[in-house]
């Protein structure tokens, strides 16, 4: 019992102090939202409802993981909307080519996302084009390709059984597969960011790319791989969404750009790069999903939701995301 030499309050303070204030605030907001929601509807705290929310959150979680990696570099990926759509549509398109297509549907969808991400990565890392510009451009090109492919309508191909199973099935009783997938991807990301040289390089580049380069990091390759990963994860999110809705749609990704950025930023990842943890992103994703859920329970129209998103992001950024002043 000699370990209890530090008073409880001190230990608590030390434990809290290790966390980013943003993450603590995000979790506090989640609890506040749950309490507020339980006043509104008694079923808000039931395990079924919470698991359902976690399942919805896992789609955003997968997409936000890629966004986080790019934001850690101090860049941004605005090609998320059509990377998601490319993933969903191409997976469904592959599924239309018989049994062989069904097997390769998911890898093909993700590979197409990697393609979009690689163009972004080469543009940012090797051609030194500002990331927001090149990702906007690839987003437009991806949209153009999909419009030509589908003829402007929602594609008729439907998702494969495997995609539906990943998004809606249950491998472990009462835990949706989507949640398991998010947990797996989350674990892999934490490992990648904290236990590998690639992860350390991502943080280093986010802090100062020039210093990382002079320290012998192949910064351009790391940036390119991070963008490819972001494209892959967006497309995989699209695959899951297509499995969830059992088909892909034209604008399926539009609703994910702003929430993905918001989730990463609300979780305390610095928009300037180099600082942030995956725990924060998890908190941010759950916070955004709960907020969406409560707003839809309250039957808030789309207009109100957009305004609330915008205001919440600005408010949280003003709290944590300010650049240093000129002095």
């Amino acid at each position: 019992m000699s370990a209890v030499s530090v008073p409880l309050a001190g230990r608590l303070r030390r434990a809290v102090g290790r966390f980013d204030p943003a993450i603590v605030t995000a979790f506090a907001c989640i609890i506040a939202l749950l309490v507020f929601g339980s006043f509104y509807s008694a079923s808000f705290l039931s395990p079924d409802y919470l698991l359902q929310q976690l399942k919805v959150a896992s789609f955003l979680g997968v997409i936000a993981t890629g966004m986080m990696m790019v934001i850690l570099l101090g860049q941004i990926d605005l090609s998320v909307p059509w990377s998601v759509a490319v993933g969903g549509m191409m997976a469904c398109a592959a599924a239309a080519y018989g049994p062989v297509g069904e097997v390769f549907a998911i890898p093909f969808g993700v590979l197409c996302g990697v393609g979009v991400g690689l163009v972004n990565g080469i543009g940012v890392a090797y051609l030194r084009i500002p990331s927001m510009i090149i990702t906007l451009a690839t987003n437009a090109v991806a949209q153009g390709l999909m419009v030509v492919y589908t003829g402007g309508f929602s594609p008729q191909d439907s998702a494969t059984g495997a995609m539906r199973y990943l998004a809606t099935g249950f491998l472990v009783p009462s835990v949706p597969n989507a949640v398991l997938i998010w947990a797996l991807i989350g674990w892999a990301t934490v490992f990648l960011l904290t236990r590998t040289t690639f992860g350390r390089a991502v943080y280093a580049i986010g802090n100062r790319e020039r210093a990382a380069y002079l320290s012998g990091v192949a910064t351009r390759r790391v940036v390119m791989i991070a963008f490819a990963l972001s494209g892959a994860l967006s497309a995989f999110g699209g695959v899951l969404l297509a499995g969830y809705a059992s088909k892909a749609a034209q604008s399926m990704g539009d609703a994910y750009l702003l929430p993905a950025i918001a989730a990463v930023v609300l979780g305390g990842t610095s928009i300037l790069g180099g600082r942030g943890s995956y725990l924060g992103t998890i908190a941010g994703v759950i916070l955004i999903t709960l907020l969406q859920s409560i707003l839809s329970v309250m039957q808030m129209p789309e207009a109100g939701r957009q305004i609330i998103y915008g205001v919440v992001i600005i408010a949280m950024l003003l709290l944590y995301g300010r650049s240093p002043a000129n002095r």
């Binding site: 941004i76 084009i129 510009i133 950025i261």
Partner: protein
């Protein structure tokens, strides 16, 4: 370097944009079934002027090394607002126009306040304010509708003396009233200085905060003039998310084509206007060559990707690899 060559060097981007525009427009008119008639020019001008206003708005912010990803949404919001306010008698219409322009200025000032005094990254801040502006537009017009003073609308979208499109004249007037005074004022020079090197400008006592704030606010004003003209062309207001996003995107393409540096401190609104007109002409080339309109988004996307990749040629001039990481 003598005076003339210096001037030529400074205007190179603008002149290139003008050249691209002339070439593209010549191809467009040359293959148009109707040929070079006043009608063809009027239609092309009306389409081009909308993007030109939004591109002007984007230019002001880009000159300060910022970016405004909410211009398209301000454009949409003021379109919805105008479809409520710019109606009725001459006096009511006048107040309506003033209110719409004021709203645009206010949106821009909000962006400016958040970016300059809140010290947030312009990309994320303007994406977020863009969501707010779109939400407001949706509140104003949950469904497309509304109306506009048609006399004013027809006057501003018609032809002067049967030849000159009025919208082009309006564009020229806006350039003379907003851009020329701004670029020649202390604030305007400070905006260029802030974009060129913020730290050096700050150290030299240049009023960079006022300049950046003014750039964002005026950008909102210019976007609202665009929104007003959109209402004049369509007679309705519509909170179209895709259209707002497209205008934001195309404004960046126009700015790049117009020789305005995305890193700030270089370029002019005139270049961006020709960039916008050229971009529209390129987009419309598909129609005169009778291609499927389905290809248009892809074609415009590829043009955009190509335009932004042009900046990479500067890498050949880099002498020290560390300059990659500016």
């Amino acid at each position: 370097m003598n005076e003339g060559r210096f001037w030529l060097n400074e205007q190179r981007g603008t002149l290139t944009a003008f050249g691209i525009f002339l070439l593209m427009f010549a191809i467009y008119v040359g293959n148009h079934p109707a040929g070079l008639t006043a009608n063809v020019i009027q239609t092309a001008a009306n389409k081009g002027v909308l993007l030109a206003f939004v591109a002007m708005a984007q230019t002001l912010v880009v000159i300060t090394a910022g970016i405004d990803l909410s211009v398209g949404m301000i454009f949409i919001l003021t379109n919805c607002l105008a479809s409520w306010l710019v109606v009725g008698s001459a006096v009511e219409t006048t107040f309506g126009v003033i209110a719409v322009l004021g709203a645009g200025l206010l949106c821009g000032a909000l962006n400016g306040a958040i970016v300059v005094f809140g010290r947030l990254q312009p990309i994320v801040a303007t994406i977020a304010t863009g969501a707010v502006f779109f939400g407001l537009a949706l509140l104003l017009r949950p469904f497309p509708g509304g109306s506009v003073n048609e006399d004013l609308a027809d006057a501003l979208t018609g032809r002067l003396f049967g030849v000159v499109p009025t919208s082009l004249v309006a564009l020229a007037v806006v350039v003379l009233v907003v851009w020329v005074p701004f670029s020649r004022s202390l604030i305007g020079r400070a905006a260029y200085a802030a974009g060129s090197s913020e730290i050096a400008a700050f150290m030299s006592g240049v009023p960079i905060r006022t300049a950046k704030f003014a750039a964002y606010a005026l950008s909102g004003l210019l976007a609202s003039i665009g929104g007003l003209f959109l209402t004049f062309f369509t007679y309705t207001g519509e909170a179209a998310f895709a259209s707002g996003n497209a205008y934001t995107l195309f404004s960046i393409a126009a700015v790049v084509l117009g020789g305005v540096s995305l890193f700030g401190g270089k370029g002019s609104v005139i270049g961006a206007i020709f960039g916008a007109l050229a971009f529209r002409a390129i987009g419309d080339l598909l129609f005169v060559f009778d291609l499927d309109p389905l290809w248009q988004p892809l074609f415009q996307g590829v043009v955009l990707l190509f335009a932004v990749s042009l900046g990479a040629f500067a890498l050949f001039r880099v002498r020290n690899r560390l300059e990659w990481f500016e």
